[in-house]
């Protein structure tokens, strides 16, 4: 056969492309579920690292299921804020994503229930230079963040700056050292923290401590509160503060910015004054 004729060339190219396309499609479809499971497990592992959990001696998936409480904020399939319970304490894990030098960087930041103190953090990257930008994943870099605060003393959201040794952050902002030789990646981490925390500012500044945007209640377009029985959605005609809350026998206002105090009277009389910072009885509303 003449392998140099135009017809042969065209037919050959078409057949080859079809074979390769079918092959790739079969491989992709056949392995998809496994790949997705791997990707999910990888995310769970990263969150466990952010929560300072050692999973070397146990199954990470089981440990994750044991600790996870609820997804508070999600974007499509992807969970952005997840609530965990570690040693009887509430921790929030926030998903981070940004840009490094060569590609995307990301991570998970675990906050204490004050939504201010960093409990742990984990970073990942697509292809930062090994030995330089790639070192952001190391314990040495990560551990600098532990115990830092993302808010200043007035409670304003400030993020944490990643700065070269010797440089000082703005007044009221806490900082960690950049990785030497990885200026752009370090700046990327700093910007990622600032922009992502700003994105979550509604959550971080919100007093809804127990249950921020429970997906179940969101679907019903209702507010939610945490009760002893679990997450409860308030019916539209019933004000949110009528939900019973965990720490009070009777009630704690869950809606208007989250009152910390319990009301003596019944739930009906429980109202918030002082910009929702304090809970007070109806009668004393003006005084408090």
């Amino acid at each position: 056969m003449n392998t140099e004729s135009s017809v042969y060339t065209i037919v050959y190219a078409m057949i080859l492309v079809v074979i390769v396309a079918v092959l790739l499609a079969v491989v992709n479809q056949g392995l998809k579920s496994r790949q997705e499971a791997n990707a999910r497990l990888d995310q769970q592992k990263q969150m466990l690292v952010a929560l300072n959990q050692d999973y070397s001696n146990s199954d990470p998936a089981v440990l994750y299921q044991k600790l996870v409480v609820d997804t508070l904020l999600s974007e499509g399939e992807r969970a952005n804020i997840i609530m965990f319970e570690v040693e009887n304490q509430t921790k929030y894990v926030l998903r981070l994503h940004g840009q490094g030098l060569w590609g995307g960087i990301g991570g998970y930041m675990a906050l204490n229930d004050d939504k201010n103190t960093v409990f742990g953090i984990n970073f990942n990257h697509e292809g930062e230079t090994p030995g330089l930008g790639g070192e952001i994943v190391t314990e040495k870099f990560r551990s600098q963040f532990f115990g830092k605060h993302i808010k200043d003393v007035q409670g304003n959201l400030r993020s944490i700056a990643v700065l070269k040794e010797g440089k000082m952050a703005d007044e009221g902002q806490e900082q960690v050292d950049a990785w030497a030789g990885a200026t752009i990646t370090s700046t990327g981490v700093s910007e990622m923290l600032a922009s992502n925390l700003q994105e979550y500012s509604e959550f971080l500044n919100d007093g809804h401590k127990e249950c921020y945007k429970s997906p179940i209640c969101e679907k019903k377009k209702q507010d939610c509160c945490q009760t002893k029985a679990g997450t409860e959605c308030c019916k539209a005609e019933k004000a949110c503060h009528q939900c019973k809350c965990e720490n009070c026998d009777d009630c704690k206002d869950c809606c208007a910015g989250g009152c910390e105090q319990c009301c003596n009277n019944g739930c009906k009389d429980c109202k918030c004054c002082d910009k929702g910072k304090k809970c007070c009885d109806n009668k004393n509303n003006d005084k408090e």
């Binding site: 060339t9 390769v20 590609g103 292809g127 030995g131």
Partner: protein, 210 residues
């Protein structure tokens, strides 16, 4: 299995006298990118070896049917398909390794050693010789990568494969006398090291030839 002289030569040649990096000066770009640490260099070397060998065999099998006018495109399609399949399989069965390789895996397609071997060898030789040629060239490339990465990681970060080799107490920061050589982490150092290896290699082989 007794291998013919030609088959042996196809495997052993690229390891030394006809080394793709040292003699043909191919695949230099990836030598810069992945040799800061030993681990990615090792994985990259192994991946390239596997893919060169596999694509050499595939192209050698269909070499008589390939229309010469589109042969480069056919070779590219074969390589690209193989790289994609390997990357999919890694993601399904060795997720950590796949994440580690990330961009490098895609970069294999552009490695000139691959195209060079397909065009220069697999198109005109039978599958067994092509397999040996692929393995030889891949390993010839891998050992240079590993040698460069060894020097760069050891002197650049005092580690090997991520394990600290130079004791912490030696460092100036901890009151010692030692300081890592930051130059080693720069891409230019890979070129200088490859240059040094080429120099040693030439000097040695010239002496042998005499």
């Amino acid at each position: 299995m007794a291998l013919s002289k030609k088959t042996k030569e196809a495997f052993l040649g690229p390891l030394n006298v006809n080394n793709p990096v040292l003699v043909q000066i191919l695949g230099i770009c990836s030598a810069l990118a992945v040799t800061v640490q030993l681990k990615p260099a090792l994985v990259m070397g192994i991946s390239v070896t596997i893919i060169v060998a596999m694509s050499n065999v595939v192209v050698s099998l269909i070499r008589k049917s390939i229309p010469s006018r589109i042969r480069i495109i056919i070779q590219l399609v074969v390589v690209a398909a193989l790289v994609t399949i390997v990357s999919e399989v890694l993601k399904a069965f060795a997720y950590d390794v796949a994440m580690q390789l990330s961009v490098y895996l895609g970069l294999i397609i552009t490695n000139c050693i691959l195209m060079g071997r397909l065009e220069a060898f697999a198109m005109t030789n039978d599958p067994l010789d092509s397999l040996m040629d692929g393995l030889g060239n891949g390993l010839g490339y891998a050992w240079i990568l590993v040698a460069v990465a060894f020097v760069r990681e050891f002197f650049g970060s005092g580690k090997l494969l991520g394990y600290q080799i130079i004791p912490d107490s030696w460092y100036v920061a901890n009151g010692g006398f030692y300081e890592n050589c930051g130059m080693m982490l720069m891409p230019a150092m890979a070129l200088i090291l490859v240059g040094c290896i080429i120099w040693a290699h030439r000097a040695y082989n010239d002496k042998e030839a005499k």
